[in-house]
Protein backbone atom coordinates (compact mmCIF):
# COMPACT_ATOMS: atom_id res chain seq x y z
CA UNK A 1 0.00 0.00 0.00
CA UNK A 2 1.28 3.47 -0.87
CA UNK A 3 1.52 5.41 2.35
CA UNK A 4 0.78 9.06 2.50
CA UNK A 5 2.95 11.48 4.44
CA UNK A 6 0.63 13.32 6.75
CA UNK A 7 2.98 15.33 8.95
CA UNK A 8 5.22 17.91 7.29
CA UNK A 9 7.91 20.13 8.80
CA UNK A 10 7.26 23.39 6.99
CA UNK A 11 9.48 26.44 6.83
CA UNK A 12 7.66 29.74 7.19
CA UNK A 13 8.53 31.85 4.16
CA UNK A 14 6.51 34.99 4.95
CA UNK A 15 4.30 36.52 7.61
CA UNK A 16 2.13 39.31 6.26
CA UNK A 17 0.00 41.56 8.45
CA UNK A 18 -3.60 42.03 7.33
CA UNK A 19 -4.84 43.95 10.36
CA UNK A 20 -3.87 43.92 14.05
CA UNK A 21 -5.76 40.65 14.66
CA UNK A 22 -5.02 38.88 11.39
CA UNK A 23 -1.94 37.58 9.60
CA UNK A 24 -1.21 35.49 6.55
CA UNK A 25 1.53 32.87 6.77
CA UNK A 26 3.19 31.46 3.66
CA UNK A 27 4.50 27.94 4.29
CA UNK A 28 6.90 25.84 2.29
CA UNK A 29 4.82 22.65 1.94
CA UNK A 30 5.26 21.15 -1.55
CA UNK A 31 3.48 17.85 -0.85
CA UNK A 32 0.45 19.64 0.57
CA UNK A 33 0.41 22.24 -2.21
CA UNK A 34 0.43 19.50 -4.84
CA UNK A 35 -2.90 17.96 -3.81
CA UNK A 36 -4.69 20.63 -1.75
CA UNK A 37 -8.28 21.36 -2.80
CA UNK A 38 -10.30 24.48 -1.98
CA UNK A 39 -12.09 23.98 1.33
CA UNK A 40 -9.48 21.66 2.79
CA UNK A 41 -7.54 22.59 5.91
CA UNK A 42 -4.26 22.01 7.73
CA UNK A 43 -3.78 21.25 11.44
CA UNK A 44 -0.93 23.39 12.75
CA UNK A 45 1.12 22.63 15.86
CA UNK A 46 1.50 25.60 18.22
CA UNK A 47 2.70 26.26 21.76
CA UNK A 48 -0.50 24.89 23.24
CA UNK A 49 -1.43 21.22 23.66
CA UNK A 50 -3.69 20.72 20.66
CA UNK A 51 -3.09 21.71 17.07
CA UNK A 52 -5.07 24.51 15.44
CA UNK A 53 -7.14 23.61 12.35
CA UNK A 54 -6.92 26.40 9.73
CA UNK A 55 -8.48 26.51 6.26
CA UNK A 56 -6.05 27.06 3.39
CA UNK A 57 -6.46 30.29 1.41
CA UNK A 58 -4.06 29.35 -1.35
CA UNK A 59 -2.00 26.45 -2.65
CA UNK A 60 0.63 26.97 -5.30
CA UNK A 61 1.85 23.59 -6.60
CA UNK A 62 4.54 25.23 -8.77
CA UNK A 63 6.07 27.23 -5.92
CA UNK A 64 5.39 24.38 -3.44
CA UNK A 65 3.74 26.76 -1.00
CA UNK A 66 0.47 27.17 0.84
CA UNK A 67 -0.99 30.23 2.55
CA UNK A 68 -3.13 30.30 5.67
CA UNK A 69 -4.94 33.23 7.26
CA UNK A 70 -4.61 33.33 11.05
CA UNK A 71 -7.04 35.37 13.13
CA UNK A 72 -5.80 35.79 16.70
CA UNK A 73 -8.48 34.27 18.92
CA UNK A 74 -6.44 32.93 21.83
CA UNK A 75 -2.98 31.89 22.91
CA UNK A 76 -2.43 29.25 20.20
CA UNK A 77 -3.38 31.48 17.29
CA UNK A 78 -1.41 34.37 18.83
CA UNK A 79 1.70 32.17 18.88
CA UNK A 80 1.10 31.16 15.26
CA UNK A 81 0.58 34.78 14.23
CA UNK A 82 3.93 35.66 15.84
CA UNK A 83 5.98 33.14 13.83
CA UNK A 84 8.66 34.70 11.65
CA UNK A 85 10.15 33.72 8.28
CA UNK A 86 12.72 30.99 8.91
CA UNK A 87 10.73 29.37 11.75
CA UNK A 88 9.48 25.81 11.29
CA UNK A 89 5.99 24.49 11.90
CA UNK A 90 4.66 20.95 12.11
CA UNK A 91 1.76 20.79 9.67
CA UNK A 92 -0.75 17.96 9.17
CA UNK A 93 -2.46 18.12 5.82
CA UNK A 94 -4.13 18.45 3.49
CA UNK A 95 -7.15 17.42 5.56
CA UNK A 96 -10.90 17.14 5.11
CA UNK A 97 -13.35 17.12 2.28
CA UNK A 98 -13.40 20.40 0.35
CA UNK A 99 -15.83 22.05 -2.06
CA UNK A 100 -17.24 19.96 -4.91
CA UNK A 101 -16.92 21.45 -8.40
CA UNK A 102 -18.58 18.58 -10.27
CA UNK A 103 -20.79 20.05 -13.01
CA UNK A 104 -20.30 23.58 -11.68
CA UNK A 105 -20.53 26.37 -14.28
CA UNK A 106 -20.85 29.40 -12.06
CA UNK A 107 -19.77 29.83 -8.44
CA UNK A 108 -21.01 32.42 -5.98
CA UNK A 109 -18.91 32.46 -2.80
CA UNK A 110 -20.39 34.06 0.29
CA UNK A 111 -17.89 34.68 3.07
CA UNK A 112 -17.97 36.38 6.44
CA UNK A 113 -15.19 36.89 8.99
CA UNK A 114 -12.29 34.51 8.46
CA UNK A 115 -14.53 32.55 6.07
CA UNK A 116 -13.21 34.81 3.30
CA UNK A 117 -9.84 32.99 3.52
CA UNK A 118 -10.87 29.50 2.31
CA UNK A 119 -13.25 31.06 -0.22
CA UNK A 120 -10.34 33.02 -1.70
CA UNK A 121 -8.88 29.60 -2.60
CA UNK A 122 -12.22 28.78 -4.31
CA UNK A 123 -12.11 32.01 -6.33
CA UNK A 124 -8.51 31.42 -7.41
CA UNK A 125 -9.46 27.90 -8.46
CA UNK A 126 -12.38 29.26 -10.53
CA UNK A 127 -10.31 32.01 -12.15
CA UNK A 128 -7.57 29.53 -13.12
CA UNK A 129 -10.18 27.29 -14.79
CA UNK A 130 -12.29 30.05 -16.37
CA UNK A 131 -15.28 29.13 -14.22
CA UNK A 132 -17.58 32.16 -14.04
CA UNK A 133 -17.55 33.35 -10.43
CA UNK A 134 -18.78 36.05 -8.10
CA UNK A 135 -17.36 36.77 -4.63
CA UNK A 136 -19.60 38.15 -1.90
CA UNK A 137 -17.68 39.16 1.22
CA UNK A 138 -19.12 40.53 4.45
CA UNK A 139 -17.22 42.65 6.97
CA UNK A 140 -17.97 44.89 9.95
CA UNK A 141 -16.48 47.87 8.13
CA UNK A 142 -14.03 48.73 5.37
CA UNK A 143 -11.32 49.20 8.02
CA UNK A 144 -12.01 45.70 9.31
CA UNK A 145 -12.02 44.10 5.85
CA UNK A 146 -9.82 41.13 4.98
CA UNK A 147 -8.50 40.31 1.50
CA UNK A 148 -10.84 42.84 -0.19
CA UNK A 149 -8.04 44.09 -2.47
CA UNK A 150 -6.93 40.53 -3.21
CA UNK A 151 -10.45 39.52 -4.23
CA UNK A 152 -10.72 42.70 -6.32
CA UNK A 153 -7.47 41.71 -8.06
CA UNK A 154 -8.96 38.43 -9.31
CA UNK A 155 -11.02 38.17 -12.49
CA UNK A 156 -14.21 37.39 -10.53
CA UNK A 157 -16.96 39.90 -9.91
CA UNK A 158 -16.97 41.16 -6.31
CA UNK A 159 -19.64 42.48 -3.98
CA UNK A 160 -18.53 43.76 -0.59
CA UNK A 161 -20.95 44.19 2.28
CA UNK A 162 -20.25 45.96 5.56
CA UNK A 163 -22.40 46.27 8.64
CA UNK A 164 -21.82 50.01 8.80
CA UNK A 165 -22.58 50.58 5.12
CA UNK A 166 -19.22 51.97 3.96
CA UNK A 167 -18.77 49.39 1.17
CA UNK A 168 -20.97 48.20 -1.77
CA UNK A 169 -23.90 46.97 0.32
CA UNK A 170 -25.04 47.81 3.88
CA UNK A 171 -25.66 44.71 6.00
CA UNK A 172 -24.12 41.28 6.25
CA UNK A 173 -23.08 38.98 3.42
CA UNK A 174 -26.44 37.19 3.15
CA UNK A 175 -28.17 40.54 2.54
CA UNK A 176 -25.71 41.21 -0.28
CA UNK A 177 -26.33 37.73 -1.72
CA UNK A 178 -30.09 38.31 -1.75
CA UNK A 179 -29.59 41.64 -3.52
CA UNK A 180 -27.29 40.01 -6.06
CA UNK A 181 -29.61 37.12 -6.84
CA UNK A 182 -32.74 39.26 -7.12
CA UNK A 183 -31.15 41.32 -9.88
CA UNK A 184 -29.58 38.46 -11.82
CA UNK A 185 -31.01 36.02 -14.38
CA UNK A 186 -30.85 32.36 -13.30
CA UNK A 187 -28.09 30.32 -14.93
CA UNK A 188 -27.74 26.54 -15.03
CA UNK A 189 -24.86 25.12 -13.05
CA UNK A 190 -24.78 27.94 -10.51
CA UNK A 191 -23.61 26.85 -7.04
CA UNK A 192 -23.30 28.85 -3.83
CA UNK A 193 -20.30 28.09 -1.60
CA UNK A 194 -20.28 29.67 1.84
CA UNK A 195 -17.99 29.89 4.85
CA UNK A 196 -18.28 32.09 7.92
CA UNK A 197 -20.36 32.50 11.07
CA UNK A 198 -23.00 29.78 11.42
CA UNK A 199 -25.88 32.27 11.52
CA UNK A 200 -24.73 33.80 8.23
CA UNK A 201 -24.31 30.40 6.55
CA UNK A 202 -27.78 29.35 7.68
CA UNK A 203 -29.22 32.55 6.17
CA UNK A 204 -27.29 31.88 2.94
CA UNK A 205 -28.60 28.31 2.82
CA UNK A 206 -32.19 29.58 3.21
CA UNK A 207 -31.70 32.07 0.37
CA UNK A 208 -30.27 29.28 -1.80
CA UNK A 209 -33.40 27.20 -1.24
CA UNK A 210 -35.62 30.15 -2.23
CA UNK A 211 -33.65 30.64 -5.46
CA UNK A 212 -33.46 26.86 -6.13
CA UNK A 213 -29.67 26.92 -6.09
CA UNK A 214 -27.45 24.19 -4.68
CA UNK A 215 -25.39 25.39 -1.73
CA UNK A 216 -22.28 23.99 -0.03
CA UNK A 217 -21.39 25.10 3.49
CA UNK A 218 -18.05 24.86 5.28
CA UNK A 219 -18.81 24.04 8.92
CA UNK A 220 -16.62 24.67 11.92
CA UNK A 221 -16.43 22.54 15.05
CA UNK A 222 -13.93 22.21 17.89
CA UNK A 223 -11.38 19.63 16.75
CA UNK A 224 -8.55 17.56 18.14
CA UNK A 225 -6.87 15.01 15.82
CA UNK A 226 -8.13 16.47 12.50
CA UNK A 227 -7.70 13.06 10.83
CA UNK A 228 -10.88 11.27 11.84
CA UNK A 229 -9.87 9.09 14.77
CA UNK A 230 -11.12 10.92 17.86
CA UNK A 231 -14.70 11.82 16.83
CA UNK A 232 -14.81 15.05 18.84
CA UNK A 233 -15.70 17.31 15.89
CA UNK A 234 -19.22 15.92 15.43
CA UNK A 235 -21.46 17.82 13.00
CA UNK A 236 -25.23 17.33 13.15
CA UNK A 237 -26.35 15.91 9.82
CA UNK A 238 -29.94 15.11 8.81
CA UNK A 239 -30.74 11.41 8.78
CA UNK A 240 -34.14 11.11 7.14
CA UNK A 241 -35.53 7.63 6.98
CA UNK A 242 -33.07 6.23 9.51
CA UNK A 243 -35.41 6.49 12.47
CA UNK A 244 -32.95 8.90 14.14
CA UNK A 245 -33.56 12.65 14.33
CA UNK A 246 -30.04 13.27 13.00
CA UNK A 247 -26.65 11.63 12.74
CA UNK A 248 -23.12 12.76 13.56
CA UNK A 249 -20.44 13.13 10.92
CA UNK A 250 -16.84 14.21 11.39
CA UNK A 251 -16.11 17.81 10.50
CA UNK A 252 -12.50 16.77 9.76
CA UNK A 253 -13.22 13.91 7.34
CA UNK A 254 -16.74 14.00 5.87
CA UNK A 255 -16.53 17.81 6.27
CA UNK A 256 -15.75 20.57 6.71
CA UNK A 257 -17.76 21.16 3.51
CA UNK A 258 -21.26 19.64 3.40
CA UNK A 259 -24.21 20.12 1.04
CA UNK A 260 -26.40 22.68 2.85
CA UNK A 261 -29.49 20.49 2.57
CA UNK A 262 -28.03 17.78 4.83
CA UNK A 263 -27.00 20.15 7.63
CA UNK A 264 -29.17 20.06 10.76
CA UNK A 265 -28.88 23.65 11.96
CA UNK A 266 -30.55 23.27 15.35
CA UNK A 267 -28.17 23.03 18.29
Amino acid sequence: MDRQTIEHQSLILANQSVNPQTRILTLDAPLIARTAQPGQFVNLACDRFLRRPIGMMQADPDAGTIKVGIRIQGDGTRWLADRRPGDQLSVLGPLGHGFDFTGVRRVITVGGGTGVFPLFFVQQYCCARQIDSIAVCGYRSRADSILADDYAGLSCRTLFASDCGDMDVAGHAAVALEQLLSGMPAADGTVIMTCGPKIMMQAVAEIAVRYHLPCQVSLEERMACGIGVCLVCACKIKAEGSGQPFTHQRCCVEGPVFPAEVVEWST
Binding site: A224, V229, C230, A234
Partner: protein, 305 residues
Protein backbone atom coordinates in the same frame (compact mmCIF):
# COMPACT_ATOMS: atom_id res chain seq x y z
CA UNK B 1 19.06 -5.29 19.41
CA UNK B 2 16.74 -4.76 22.33
CA UNK B 3 14.08 -7.47 22.80
CA UNK B 4 10.82 -5.51 22.69
CA UNK B 5 8.41 -8.39 23.28
CA UNK B 6 6.27 -8.62 26.40
CA UNK B 7 3.52 -10.87 27.69
CA UNK B 8 0.30 -9.69 29.29
CA UNK B 9 -0.90 -12.89 30.93
CA UNK B 10 -1.19 -15.38 28.08
CA UNK B 11 -1.21 -12.64 25.41
CA UNK B 12 2.13 -12.17 23.69
CA UNK B 13 2.81 -8.72 22.26
CA UNK B 14 5.55 -7.87 19.77
CA UNK B 15 6.17 -4.76 21.84
CA UNK B 16 4.46 -3.07 24.79
CA UNK B 17 2.80 -0.25 22.81
CA UNK B 18 -0.95 -0.40 22.23
CA UNK B 19 -3.17 2.32 20.76
CA UNK B 20 -5.78 3.32 23.34
CA UNK B 21 -9.49 3.00 22.66
CA UNK B 22 -11.16 6.08 21.21
CA UNK B 23 -7.96 7.59 19.87
CA UNK B 24 -7.39 5.34 16.87
CA UNK B 25 -10.84 4.56 15.45
CA UNK B 26 -10.64 1.07 13.96
CA UNK B 27 -7.20 1.76 12.49
CA UNK B 28 -8.42 2.70 8.99
CA UNK B 29 -7.36 6.36 9.04
CA UNK B 30 -4.02 5.67 10.73
CA UNK B 31 -3.19 2.81 8.32
CA UNK B 32 -3.04 5.34 5.49
CA UNK B 33 0.02 6.94 7.08
CA UNK B 34 1.95 4.04 8.61
CA UNK B 35 2.58 0.32 8.93
CA UNK B 36 0.46 -0.67 11.91
CA UNK B 37 1.99 -4.16 12.09
CA UNK B 38 4.77 -2.44 14.02
CA UNK B 39 2.45 -1.76 16.95
CA UNK B 40 1.86 -4.15 19.83
CA UNK B 41 -1.87 -3.81 19.29
CA UNK B 42 -4.88 -1.59 18.73
CA UNK B 43 -7.83 -1.16 21.07
CA UNK B 44 -11.01 -0.55 19.08
CA UNK B 45 -13.20 2.47 19.58
CA UNK B 46 -15.49 1.72 22.56
CA UNK B 47 -18.25 -0.59 21.32
CA UNK B 48 -21.82 -0.91 22.49
CA UNK B 49 -24.41 -3.52 21.52
CA UNK B 50 -26.46 -1.00 19.53
CA UNK B 51 -25.05 1.87 17.45
CA UNK B 52 -24.67 5.11 19.44
CA UNK B 53 -24.84 8.71 18.23
CA UNK B 54 -22.73 9.98 21.09
CA UNK B 55 -23.04 13.35 22.81
CA UNK B 56 -23.74 16.69 21.18
CA UNK B 57 -20.81 18.94 20.22
CA UNK B 58 -18.76 20.68 21.50
CA UNK B 59 -17.08 17.48 22.63
CA UNK B 60 -13.57 18.77 23.28
CA UNK B 61 -11.94 21.48 25.35
CA UNK B 62 -8.23 22.16 25.55
CA UNK B 63 -6.69 22.34 29.02
CA UNK B 64 -3.23 23.01 30.39
CA UNK B 65 -1.17 20.03 29.23
CA UNK B 66 -4.14 18.05 28.01
CA UNK B 67 -7.72 17.98 26.89
CA UNK B 68 -11.24 17.13 27.99
CA UNK B 69 -13.45 15.02 25.75
CA UNK B 70 -17.10 14.03 25.94
CA UNK B 71 -17.62 11.94 22.82
CA UNK B 72 -20.03 9.65 24.65
CA UNK B 73 -19.17 6.34 22.95
CA UNK B 74 -20.28 7.21 19.42
CA UNK B 75 -19.84 3.91 17.59
CA UNK B 76 -21.50 1.76 14.89
CA UNK B 77 -22.49 -1.02 17.30
CA UNK B 78 -21.07 -4.50 17.81
CA UNK B 79 -22.67 -6.12 14.75
CA UNK B 80 -21.19 -3.53 12.38
CA UNK B 81 -17.82 -3.90 14.13
CA UNK B 82 -17.83 -7.66 13.63
CA UNK B 83 -18.96 -7.43 10.04
CA UNK B 84 -17.15 -4.38 8.70
CA UNK B 85 -14.32 -3.30 11.00
CA UNK B 86 -12.84 -6.45 12.55
CA UNK B 87 -12.01 -8.18 9.22
CA UNK B 88 -10.08 -5.04 8.23
CA UNK B 89 -8.38 -4.77 11.62
CA UNK B 90 -7.24 -8.38 11.40
CA UNK B 91 -5.28 -7.52 8.23
CA UNK B 92 -3.18 -4.98 10.12
CA UNK B 93 -0.82 -7.55 11.63
CA UNK B 94 -1.00 -6.54 15.29
CA UNK B 95 -3.10 -7.64 18.26
CA UNK B 96 -6.71 -6.48 18.13
CA UNK B 97 -8.41 -5.63 21.40
CA UNK B 98 -12.19 -5.06 21.42
CA UNK B 99 -13.12 -2.35 23.92
CA UNK B 100 -16.72 -2.84 25.04
CA UNK B 101 -19.11 -0.78 27.15
CA UNK B 102 -22.62 -1.51 28.34
CA UNK B 103 -25.55 0.00 30.18
CA UNK B 104 -25.77 -3.03 32.43
CA UNK B 105 -24.16 -6.39 33.01
CA UNK B 106 -26.36 -8.26 30.52
CA UNK B 107 -25.25 -6.00 27.71
CA UNK B 108 -21.55 -6.60 28.52
CA UNK B 109 -22.16 -10.33 28.74
CA UNK B 110 -24.08 -10.44 25.48
CA UNK B 111 -21.16 -8.69 23.76
CA UNK B 112 -18.61 -11.00 25.42
CA UNK B 113 -20.48 -14.04 24.11
CA UNK B 114 -20.54 -12.68 20.59
CA UNK B 115 -16.88 -11.66 20.71
CA UNK B 116 -15.95 -15.09 22.04
CA UNK B 117 -16.70 -16.47 18.55
CA UNK B 118 -14.75 -13.71 16.82
CA UNK B 119 -11.13 -13.14 15.86
CA UNK B 120 -10.40 -10.49 18.50
CA UNK B 121 -7.35 -11.29 20.60
CA UNK B 122 -8.54 -9.65 23.81
CA UNK B 123 -11.73 -8.17 25.26
CA UNK B 124 -11.19 -4.92 27.15
CA UNK B 125 -14.10 -4.25 29.52
CA UNK B 126 -14.62 -0.49 29.60
CA UNK B 127 -15.67 0.05 33.22
CA UNK B 128 -14.63 3.65 33.17
CA UNK B 129 -16.12 5.89 30.45
CA UNK B 130 -17.10 9.10 32.26
CA UNK B 131 -19.28 10.44 29.43
CA UNK B 132 -22.33 8.18 29.50
CA UNK B 133 -25.06 8.15 32.13
CA UNK B 134 -25.37 4.41 32.71
CA UNK B 135 -23.01 1.48 33.12
CA UNK B 136 -19.30 2.05 32.59
CA UNK B 137 -17.98 4.34 35.29
CA UNK B 138 -20.94 3.58 37.59
CA UNK B 139 -19.96 -0.10 37.55
CA UNK B 140 -16.27 0.78 37.66
CA UNK B 141 -16.72 2.90 40.80
CA UNK B 142 -17.81 -0.04 42.90
CA UNK B 143 -15.51 -2.92 43.79
CA UNK B 144 -18.52 -5.17 44.30
CA UNK B 145 -20.02 -4.40 40.88
CA UNK B 146 -16.62 -4.81 39.16
CA UNK B 147 -16.13 -8.24 40.67
CA UNK B 148 -19.67 -9.30 39.77
CA UNK B 149 -19.33 -8.21 36.16
CA UNK B 150 -15.81 -9.53 35.58
CA UNK B 151 -16.61 -12.92 37.08
CA UNK B 152 -19.80 -13.17 35.01
CA UNK B 153 -17.83 -12.22 31.88
CA UNK B 154 -15.20 -14.79 32.81
CA UNK B 155 -17.87 -17.48 32.68
CA UNK B 156 -19.04 -16.61 29.16
CA UNK B 157 -15.74 -16.15 27.30
CA UNK B 158 -12.38 -17.82 27.10
CA UNK B 159 -10.83 -14.69 25.55
CA UNK B 160 -8.35 -12.78 27.68
CA UNK B 161 -10.29 -10.18 29.68
CA UNK B 162 -8.74 -6.84 30.53
CA UNK B 163 -10.62 -4.50 32.89
CA UNK B 164 -10.09 -0.82 32.08
CA UNK B 165 -10.63 1.01 35.34
CA UNK B 166 -11.50 4.55 36.28
CA UNK B 167 -9.28 6.81 38.38
CA UNK B 168 -12.42 8.47 39.76
CA UNK B 169 -12.41 6.27 42.86
CA UNK B 170 -11.09 6.55 46.40
CA UNK B 171 -8.92 3.44 46.20
CA UNK B 172 -7.56 2.08 42.91
CA UNK B 173 -6.05 -0.80 44.87
CA UNK B 174 -9.55 -1.91 45.88
CA UNK B 175 -11.06 -1.74 42.41
CA UNK B 176 -8.02 -3.40 40.82
CA UNK B 177 -8.22 -6.19 43.42
CA UNK B 178 -11.92 -6.63 42.60
CA UNK B 179 -11.11 -7.10 38.91
CA UNK B 180 -8.44 -9.64 39.86
CA UNK B 181 -10.83 -11.49 42.16
CA UNK B 182 -13.38 -11.61 39.32
CA UNK B 183 -10.85 -13.37 37.11
CA UNK B 184 -9.54 -10.56 34.88
CA UNK B 185 -6.33 -11.40 33.02
CA UNK B 186 -5.11 -7.82 33.43
CA UNK B 187 -6.21 -4.37 34.51
CA UNK B 188 -5.79 -1.25 32.38
CA UNK B 189 -5.00 1.86 34.44
CA UNK B 190 -6.28 4.54 33.93
CA UNK B 191 -9.19 5.94 31.93
CA UNK B 192 -9.79 9.72 31.99
CA UNK B 193 -10.39 11.88 35.06
CA UNK B 194 -13.78 13.58 35.24
CA UNK B 195 -13.39 17.32 34.67
CA UNK B 196 -14.99 20.55 33.49
CA UNK B 197 -14.01 23.60 31.44
CA UNK B 198 -15.90 26.91 31.68
CA UNK B 199 -16.28 29.82 29.28
CA UNK B 200 -16.18 32.98 31.42
CA UNK B 201 -18.06 35.08 28.87
CA UNK B 202 -21.03 32.77 28.41
CA UNK B 203 -20.87 31.34 31.95
CA UNK B 204 -21.46 27.94 30.41
CA UNK B 205 -19.36 24.78 30.40
CA UNK B 206 -17.49 24.53 27.10
CA UNK B 207 -18.56 20.91 26.69
CA UNK B 208 -22.20 20.43 25.68
CA UNK B 209 -22.19 17.45 28.07
CA UNK B 210 -21.08 19.84 30.87
CA UNK B 211 -18.34 17.45 32.02
CA UNK B 212 -15.78 15.34 30.19
CA UNK B 213 -12.79 13.10 30.63
CA UNK B 214 -9.39 14.73 31.19
CA UNK B 215 -6.46 13.13 29.38
CA UNK B 216 -2.95 13.99 28.30
CA UNK B 217 0.28 14.73 30.22
CA UNK B 218 -1.77 16.56 32.89
CA UNK B 219 -2.88 13.17 34.24
CA UNK B 220 0.39 11.24 33.91
CA UNK B 221 1.46 11.64 37.55
CA UNK B 222 -1.94 10.40 38.74
CA UNK B 223 -1.73 7.42 36.40
CA UNK B 224 1.83 6.54 37.47
CA UNK B 225 0.85 6.66 41.13
CA UNK B 226 -2.16 4.43 40.49
CA UNK B 227 -0.11 1.87 38.52
CA UNK B 228 2.50 1.77 41.29
CA UNK B 229 -0.20 1.45 43.96
CA UNK B 230 -2.06 -1.31 42.12
CA UNK B 231 1.23 -3.13 41.47
CA UNK B 232 1.65 -3.52 45.21
CA UNK B 233 -1.94 -4.79 45.61
CA UNK B 234 -2.53 -7.24 42.76
CA UNK B 235 -0.62 -10.03 41.01
CA UNK B 236 -2.17 -9.87 37.53
CA UNK B 237 -0.48 -7.74 34.84
CA UNK B 238 -1.19 -4.03 34.52
CA UNK B 239 -1.40 -2.04 31.30
CA UNK B 240 -0.43 1.57 32.02
CA UNK B 241 -2.12 4.49 30.29
CA UNK B 242 -2.34 8.21 30.97
CA UNK B 243 -0.52 11.05 29.26
CA UNK B 244 2.30 9.06 27.65
CA UNK B 245 3.89 11.28 24.99
CA UNK B 246 7.28 9.63 24.47
CA UNK B 247 9.43 6.58 25.09
CA UNK B 248 10.66 7.87 28.43
CA UNK B 249 7.07 8.28 29.70
CA UNK B 250 6.28 4.73 28.58
CA UNK B 251 9.31 3.28 30.41
CA UNK B 252 8.32 5.14 33.59
CA UNK B 253 5.00 3.25 33.48
CA UNK B 254 6.82 -0.06 33.01
CA UNK B 255 9.10 0.71 35.95
CA UNK B 256 5.99 1.53 38.02
CA UNK B 257 4.69 -1.94 37.21
CA UNK B 258 3.04 -1.93 33.80
CA UNK B 259 3.68 -4.86 31.45
CA UNK B 260 2.46 -2.82 28.49
CA UNK B 261 1.20 0.70 27.82
CA UNK B 262 -1.60 2.34 25.88
CA UNK B 263 -1.07 5.55 23.96
CA UNK B 264 -4.10 7.80 23.68
CA UNK B 265 -4.01 11.56 23.56
CA UNK B 266 -0.55 11.58 21.94
CA UNK B 267 -2.26 10.24 18.80
CA UNK B 268 -4.29 13.47 18.69
CA UNK B 269 -1.23 15.60 18.10
CA UNK B 270 1.03 13.17 16.26
CA UNK B 271 -0.48 10.45 14.07
CA UNK B 272 2.75 8.41 14.26
CA UNK B 273 3.09 8.76 18.06
CA UNK B 274 2.83 5.01 18.77
CA UNK B 275 5.60 4.09 16.34
CA UNK B 276 7.83 6.92 17.53
CA UNK B 277 7.39 5.79 21.14
CA UNK B 278 8.40 2.21 20.26
CA UNK B 279 11.62 3.46 18.63
CA UNK B 280 12.35 5.76 21.56
CA UNK B 281 11.84 2.94 24.09
CA UNK B 282 14.30 0.74 22.19
CA UNK B 283 16.94 3.42 22.01
CA UNK B 284 16.53 4.39 25.67
CA UNK B 285 16.89 0.73 26.66
CA UNK B 286 20.15 0.60 24.71
CA UNK B 287 21.33 3.70 26.55
CA UNK B 288 20.38 2.08 29.86
CA UNK B 289 22.14 -1.16 28.92
CA UNK B 290 18.84 -3.05 29.20
CA UNK B 291 18.56 -5.91 26.72
CA UNK B 292 14.82 -6.60 27.01
CA UNK B 293 12.04 -4.10 27.67
CA UNK B 294 10.35 -6.59 29.99
CA UNK B 295 13.29 -6.14 32.36
CA UNK B 296 11.93 -2.70 33.27
CA UNK B 297 8.60 -4.07 34.52
CA UNK B 298 7.97 -3.38 38.20
CA UNK B 299 11.52 -2.36 39.02
CA UNK B 300 10.45 0.73 40.95
CA UNK B 301 12.21 1.06 44.27
CA UNK B 302 10.24 3.21 46.69
CA UNK B 303 12.00 5.30 49.31
CA UNK B 304 11.68 3.98 52.83
CA UNK B 305 9.39 6.04 55.06
Amino acid sequence: MVDLSVKVGQTELANPVLAASGTFGFGREMARFQDLSRLGGICSKGLTLKPRLGNLAPRVAETSCGMLNSVGLQNPGLAAFLQEELPFMKTLGCRIIANIAGHENDEYLDMCRRLDDSDVDVIELNLSCPNVREGCMLIGSSARLIEELVSAARRVTGKPLWAKLTPNVTSIGETAAAAEAGGADAVVLINTLLGMAIDRRTRRPILRNNTGGLSGPAIKPVALRMVAEARRTIKIPIIGVGGILNGNDALEFMIAGASAVEIGTANMIKPTACQDIISEMASLAETDGVSALRDYIGTLELWNS
